[in-house]
Symmetry: C2
Subunit: 198 residues, 2 copies
């Protein structure tokens, strides 16, 4: 069986995620990752060709996980309002993970703006998120829930709001109740998008 191999690989990935989050991509040395994982350098380079490869693997894992969560929120719903209610329920979990992952996320983006390989790996899931929300808005417009807004732009606005709120939550963790801010921001935005005001 290849069980030992898979365990080792998982240990390395986990250690890398921890160290990237703690000290950043450049500062987290391969040696340190190996030490944290309790394996040798030989094992590391047996599983991953370069340091960047493990970085890309972590990126892939995280982004596809997020996508799954989003699609789950839409599953089985018939109107748009219901989807956004479901998404509100996701917020605590997202914030819980964020502390661990966001510093790494910032590095992803910083690297993506310079490195074509990282950019490719980042941009396609990101565009899928955007399209996901654009479809949702379009559906809402068709349903009569939303005004006749441009779905692409509204989708970009949603992503901006999400990213911006997460980043502020990361930076100023103990200053505010960021979950509350996320929910209320979403409500203000929904009011701005809604067709009929009460």
């Amino acid at each position: 069986m290849q069980q030992r191999s898979e365990t080792t690989r998982a240990h390395i990935l986990d250690a890398a995620r921890k160290l990237f989050a703690r000290s950043g991509y450049e500062s987290a040395s391969v040696d340190a990752i190996c030490a944290e994982a309790g394996v040798s350098k030989g094992a590391f380079y047996h599983h991953f060709p370069t340091k960047q490869a493990i970085f890309l693997q972590l990126l892939e894992n995280w982004l596809s996980g997020l996508e799954t969560q989003l699609e789950t929120a839409r599953e089985g719903t018939e109107n748009v309002a219901q989807v956004f209610v479901n998404m509100t329920a996701l917020i605590p979990g997202i914030f819980r993970d964020a502390d661990q992952r966001l510093p790494m996320f910032l590095e992803f983006w910083a690297q993506a703006s310079r490195d074509k390989t990282v950019w490719d790996a980042t941009i396609s899931p990101y565009r899928r998120y955007r399209d996901f929300f654009a479809e949702l808005i379009e559906q809402g417009v068709a349903e009569g829930t939303f005004r006749e807004v441009n779905p692409q732009i509204a989708a970009e606005m949603i992503v901006s709001l999400a990213v911006g709120t997460l980043l502020q939550g990361l930076l100023d963790a103990r200053g505010t109740d960021w979950q509350q801010t996320a929910i209320e921001s979403m409500q203000i935005m929904m009011t701005g998008l809604a067709k009929e005001q009460k």
Copy 2:
């Protein structure tokens, strides 16, 4: 006169800004910065005690510049709507600068989440931005322009939207007209905040 000294210092700062943006904080070596600036390593360490010091100086310069721009947008205005109109006019300039500065900005935030010194330098100007918008919202509520929203939360929403839009504009530069998105997002948000709907 200390003119030579000041010129050298300016050269170093400018070279550092360029290289940090191009290759990132860690990858931009002191040697490379010196070469770009056309000075020696001795000159570098005569003006800045460490590599991090120059990083902090650039952060300070940028953030205080942004603050000045914001305050200019408020100057001489009497109602809140006017301020936001003025701010809209700032958008093209901000986006023009962003390409050069945002990768570095991402690094600032990534570092701020780990390094107390960088965090301190980042958080206080950031809080001033937030308070600036909170005051603005409060004024709008008092004027009767806005609904009775929580000014702090609305301010956080504005900053989130700004940061998120800029980041997307950086990442997906050629995919959308981001200035247009920024303006329309702002309008949607204003509609959500406004007291009376047309």
